[in-house]
């Protein structure tokens, strides 16, 4: 029986990827904390994961692309569809909606979630390894 990496690793590989993407978005929010008119953004992790899950269950479900410029659909590698703007808790004079403290909390939380997802992925590999060795 051949081992398919796709089915052996499950959702964790995608989860690690989405976590690292989200880390980038949050880092960008914090980097632009002093930029006038910058709007803080985030992605809906749950929606993305559900999208990935349904994509895996239904096989490769893709939108028909009739022109070269067409996008790949909702589960896009750059998560354009899932990127949303944050609703600010306090208005600011320069139009910036970054709240550094909460962004920092989210960033740290996301880093921990990344570690957890990574741990799962790592365990999957360890399982595969011991299966191959027959220990």
């Amino acid at each position: 029986m051949a081992i398919s990496f796709e089915s052996a690793l499950g959702i964790h590989e995608q989860a690690v990827y989405v976590r690292s993407q989200r880390a980038e978005v949050l880092a960008n929010n914090i980097a632009n904390a002093d930029t006038p008119n910058f709007k803080a953004r985030d992605m809906d992790f749950k929606a993305i994961l559900q999208g990935k899950e349904s994509q895996m269950q239904m096989g490769q479900l893709e939108l028909a692309k009739t022109k070269s410029g067409h996008s790949e659909g909702l589960v896009n590698p750059d998560f354009a569809a899932e990127m949303m703007y944050r609703i600010p808790s306090q208005p600011s004079i320069d139009g910036n909606t970054v709240d550094v403290q909460t962004e920092m909390a989210r960033y740290t939380e996301n880093a921990l979630d990344y570690q957890a997802s990574f741990q799962f992925l790592d365990k999957k590999f360890k399982g595969l390894k011991s299966a191959i060795k027959g220990e």
């Binding site: 880092a27 960008n28 914090i30 998560f79 990127m83």
Partner: protein
Amino acid sequence: MSLSNIFDIAGSAMSAQTVRLNTTASNMANADSVSSSYGETYRARKAVFELGRQNEMQPGVPLGTQAGQGVEVAGIVESDAPLRQEYNPNHPMANEDGYVFYPNVNVVEEMADMISASRSFQINAEIMNTAKQMTQRALTLGQG
């Protein structure tokens, strides 16, 4: 891997905050530079931030849909606040009417700006550190 983008983003923020800190240092250093004419007097400088240029980070990805672009300094502007003039005929730099001109540097504002810039710098250094840990962890995949 997108984690490496975080280094660019946090790095751009740290360099932008350094520029801001530099302008603050320049303003504070020149807070008392007197001059005898209106045009020659030092004016407070402020760095203007803008969202980093998008095409440099991830070429090929459409505008506005990228995860992160970082920040960059669009330019440095001089403050339009009125200069402080003082009637002091005995001052060696006084003009023929007896006035000396002081820069429009608000020391309290500059101090607040300095603290804000150094805080932001610290936070972005922290972001970079966390990203470093995440990357190091990713490198250990499947080991041991």
